[in-house]
């Protein structure tokens, strides 16, 4: 059997995982094996890939502001200009707590130079507070994912199917593919499906909380006021499609989420679903992203970023390559599984901590 060594084994099929693998190889000169489901792009998307989220921490805004232009240039180079488009997402809230959170998100966005425009109540209803947040970037996944395979070939990233046999050996992974054995010095579980498949429940840190989420694709989308909308109370994203209809992502099983969606959209009847899937997601107990090793020598996990994590991928790659700036290194250290200081973000799935 042939045996060789790679610097990283990146497990995951999301754009974040695929971009991370490519950047580690292309910019940082690392040897990378990407282990992912080849058919993932035929699945329904699991998240809104958009460069904004309900972020309340200035350090996170600063990180995202510094990486988004680089990411969009990278995506443009890989997939052309149709691989992404500019959108002005609408964030809206109903409950008092969510309205407060929206206030914090808006002021934080403004302080980083983002235009935030309140929407008149006639558009959303008097019981809803809504703002339009300017100039975000949304991925066009089908276009981008078509282009990622040749990009990986160009970068020298070796793609292996998720069915490949592998064993964790501390931080390293031993992958067996045909008559080749690859020892990857560092294992990165870069999306929730990879974490669910690879990380035994007993190895999951106490900060890692599993939730059931769903995606529903529906032809009904006539009530969307913008191409992307986020309902802060429930954490539901609504993404309109060029061809009509929309994809909705949010917490709960399919039935629960579908009923919530009807209420959210104020539809008189159940939605005509064109596709649906429920799946496990991971989040931290404090709602903030988690990045770091599970235990002293375990695999490194990335989770809890929401859709915006894709746009922080240059910083992620620098950090894995040991080339992060001081601010980036501080941010990553603060978001390790074992928190060194509070970094909680707003999340409807997070029980509020006592004051």
């Amino acid at each position: 059997m042939n045996s060789r060594v790679a610097d990283f084994a990146v497990f995951g099929s999301t754009p974040l995982a695929q971009l991370l693998a490519g950047l580690l190889a292309s910019r940082h000169g690392k040897s990378v094996v990407l282990v992912g489901e080849p058919s993932a792009r035929y699945r329904l998307p699991r998240a809104a890939d958009i460069s904004l989220g309900p972020i309340t921490r200035p350090e996170t805004w600063a990180l995202l502001k510094s990486t988004t232009p680089d990411t969009t240039r990278l995506i443009g180079r890989i997939g052309g200009r149709h691989a992404q488009n500019h959108v002005d997402p609408i964030f809206f809230a109903e409950s008092e707590a969510a309205r407060e959170a929206l206030g914090h998100v808006c002021n934080m966005a403004r302080s980083f130079g983002v235009i935030v425009e309140p929407l008149p109540t006639r558009l959303m209803g008097a019981d809803r507070l809504a703002v339009r947040v300017g100039d975000a970037v949304a991925l066009n996944r089908p276009v981008l994912e078509n282009a990622l395979v040749p990009w990986h070939e160009q970068c020298g990233v070796e793609r292996l199917p998720s069915t490949v046999y592998w064993a964790q050996d501390g931080a390293a992974a031993r992958l067996t593919h045909g008559d080749t054995e690859i020892i990857a010095q560092q294992t990165i579980l870069a999306d929730d499906a990879a974490i669910e498949a690879a990380l035994p429940v007993t190895s999951r840190s106490s900060v890692l909380v599993e939730h059931l989420h769903s995606t529903i694709l529906t032809r009904s989308g006539q009530h969307l006021l913008g191409p992307a909308m986020l309902h802060l109370d429930s954490g539901t994203w609504l993404m309109g499609h060029e061809e009509g209809g929309m994809a909705a992502f949010g917490p709960g099983g399919i039935g629960h989420f579908a009923r919530n969606l009807v209420t959210l959209l104020r539809e008189p009847d159940p939605l005509q679903q064109a596709g649906q899937v429920s799946f496990s997601t991971f989040a931290s107990a404090d709602g903030a992203p988690i990045i770091g090793r599970m235990g002293r020598n375990g695999a490194t996990i990335l989770t809890g970023f929401g859709g915006w994590g894709t746009f922080a991928v240059p910083a992620l790659a620098r950090w894995f390559a040991g080339e992060a700036s001081a601010a980036e290194a501080d941010w990553f250290a603060a978001h390790a599984p074992e928190r060194i200081r509070p970094v909680a973000e707003f999340s409807p799935l997070t029980d509020e901590l006592p004051a």
Partner: protein, 652 residues
């Protein structure tokens, strides 16, 4: 009465005179003001087809054939709120129907301007013309049964009888108007009774059982463990009414049979193009056979039964195009013995409408052939629609070129050809076996005596290599989703440079319409979907109607609770951060999230010393760092507001 030109003679041989209709009882009804004639026992759809209406309307300027799998819903004028499927509704004498949601030209205009063959729908303009409005309705809960059997073919009837014999209360649901399924087309194997005799025997046994409740004209469209939702049509006092019913059951058998695959060529949904099974059903049940000439294009042996059955009629079969190169079958040998011309390894490249309303078939070899009717058969796919709705998985079988179910549920089982069995004996045994397994017993096993491939060549696909240069569209399936075969992408140099190519998604994941199992299979064969993704796509893209009580609510949603310092702010201003009140003279209300700075010189958000929490009863609370000065600047909507920090009042 007016002639129904598309009926076979009453004295037609081999059971083709129409077993469901009573020719001695003519009926007359209207649809959108047009008068149609039929016989008692006709469905609205069969009466339309018998009267020569074979066209739905147009889609992007191309005519679209009217078929059972893609017929518009209707409503009786006297019960306008009750949507009816025309293929499951008995046509009533003197009834007045309208197409659901359609806005036909009124009265005289309708009669003048609708072409004789067409219902006149504009499918381009009205994307909801083929919707089934009952899919969004809640169900009326019916009495629970121990066993629900979905599908009244041989497998379903066998399952129902097996359940009843073990003492279970059974509900047997069948979408069509009568039990029996599709076994008639598939003929017999050695030692078997005829399908008609077999079905008659099972039907009689079921009728004699008090434990079995039969619901015909009832189509299940949603399923989860323990519950099915169905749309049921009943005729009472010469009036068709429909209702949505929820059918609770401890155990469920899915015996929904197979779907006939649509051969993939341009023009595969033109008026006059019909699947072999549908053609057989129309002929055997309603005595309908439009036209005087026909052509068969098939890659499946059972379709050869049609030429055999039709041989003694006056309908002229021009030829048989066989998609497989070296197909063997006893049915093929019969056809040879009848002297029918067969062209092995020949595909229909495309079909186009002729000026006289016929179909011009362009085979892969030879000259075009003009016929009245083109019967096609692209093989069979187990109908796993409800299986996928219930959460069942499937995977593509490269050997059999079809999706096959995988995994199991404790309370739902597949049976018959839906489970992948091919013979009538296998379907019958699988129905019994499914019930035994659901009851936790060791199943008696299923003997599915498939004839060796040397003698009965397995199904193939009919896939023409290209789309039609004349622009006639080809579709992926014969159902109501109207998914087209994509045109090959061949961008010119300008498109390559300026990226003016299509920005629409080229893969299924963002296509905002359901993708049925037939389209998924067609996508695999065309290379649009990788084999390993077929099962995933089929399950995720099924048109699911969620049923109540499937799963618990998500945990942790607590945003209705306002904490004094929400978790997402805690620790932001250091371990010794504190709450204070903010006073200012600006007259404005400072909203949550406004940042507080020590001075105007440094407004970097990373250097903020505090943030406004909220204003309650005139007092504005803030969270600030331990060393925040008394005089501060609050940023509100881009403006600096001088303010002071003071201790919070005790009420806060």
């Amino acid at each position: 009465m007016k002639a129904q030109n598309h009926r076979l003679p009453q004295a037609s041989p081999r059971g083709l005179s129409g077993s469901a209709i009573d020719r001695s009882r003519p009926i007359r009804f209207t649809l959108n003001g047009r008068v149609f004639h039929g016989f008692a026992g006709d469905t609205v759809l069969s009466a339309l087809l018998a009267s020569g209406v074979d066209t739905l309307g147009t889609l992007d300027g191309h005519p679209m054939g009217l078929r059972a799998a893609a017929a518009p819903s209707i409503a009786a004028a006297r019960v306008p709120g009750s949507a009816l499927p025309m293929e499951r509704t008995f046509a009533q004498d003197e009834a007045e129907y309208v197409t659901w949601g359609n806005k036909p030209l009124p009265g005289m205009f309708s009669r003048l301007f609708h072409a004789g063959r067409s219902l006149g729908l504009n499918l381009t303009r009205d994307g909801s013309a083929l919707d089934q409005p009952w899919r969004s309705q809640a169900g009326i809960v019916s009495q629970a049964s121990d066993l629900l059997v979905i599908g009244g073919g041989v497998a379903g009837m066998s399952a129902a009888l097996a359940g009843a014999r073990t003492g279970l209360t059974v509900t047997l649901v069948e979408a069509s108007l009568r039990l029996g399924g599709s076994s008639g087309l598939f003929g017999t194997q050695d030692g078997e009774s005829t399908p008609e005799d077999h079905v008659a025997q099972l039907t009689a046994e079921i009728a004699a059982s008090d434990a079995i409740t039969i619901l015909t004209a009832t189509e299940v469209f949603a399923l989860t463990q323990g519950l099915a939702r169905a749309h049921r049509v009943q005729t009472e006092d010469s009036e068709a009414r429909a209702e949505v019913v929820d059918l609770p059951a401890r155990q469920i058998v899915i015996a929904t049979g197979s779907l006939e695959r649509l051969p993939l060529f341009a023009g595969n949904r033109l008026p006059g193009v019909c699947g072999a099974l549908e053609a057989y059903e129309l002929a055997s049940r309603f005595g309908i056979w439009p036209g005087a000439s026909w052509l068969l294009a098939t890659a499946s042996n059972p379709a050869y039964r049609l030429p055999i059955l039709m041989h003694e009629t006056r309908i002229k079969l021009d030829r048989i195009l066989e998609g497989r190169d070296h197909a063997n079958s006893r049915f093929i040998e019969f056809c040879k013995a009848y002297g029918i011309r067969q062209f092995p390894g020949t595909l229909p490249h495309s079909a186009t409408p002729s000026r006289r309303g016929e179909i011009e078939v362009h085979p892969s070899h030879g000259e075009p052939v003009t016929v009245d009717r083109l019967i096609v058969c692209g093989g069979w796919q187990p109908d796993l629609t409800l299986w996928h709705m219930a959460g069942g998985l499937s995977r593509w079988s490269r050997e059999r070129q079809r999706l096959e179910p995988t995994g199991s549920f404790p309370s739902i089982a597949l049976a018959g050809s839906a489970a992948g069995f091919l013979t009538r004996r296998g379907c019958q045994a699988s129905g019994i076996d499914a019930v035994e397994r659901l009851l936790g017993r060791n199943g008696s096993g299923v003997d599915d005596p498939v004839i060796d491939a040397v003698h009965e060549t397995p199904d193939g696909w009919i896939v023409s290599p290209e789309t039609d240069p004349r622009g006639t569209p080809g579709y992926l399936d014969s159902n109501r989703t109207l998914l087209r075969r994509p045109a090959p992408v061949n961008p010119g140099w300008a498109a390559r440079i300026f990226e003016r190519g299509p920005t629409r998604p080229q893969i299924l994941s963002q296509n905002p319409q359901p993708v049925n199992i037939g389209s998924i299979c067609a996508g695999v064969v065309l290379g649009l979907i990788p084999e390993e993704a077929a099962g995933i796509a089929a399950q995720e893209r099924v048109a699911l109607v969620p049923l109540a009580g499937e799963e618990p609510s998500p945990s942790g949603t607590s945003t209705s609770v306002v904490n004094p310092v929400p978790a997402y702010l805690q620790g932001r201003f250091g371990p010794d951060e504190r709450m204070v009140a903010i006073t200012h003279e600006s007259g404005r209300t400072l909203g949550p999230g406004c940042l507080i700075f020590a001075g105007e010189d440094d407004l970097d958000p990373l250097h903020a010393v505090g943030v406004i929490l909220r204003t309650i009863q005139g007092e504005t609370a803030a969270l600030v760092s331990a060393h925040t000065p008394a005089r501060v600047i609050v940023r509100d909507s881009g403006q600096n507001v001088p303010a002071e920090t003071v201790p919070l009042s005790p009420k806060s």
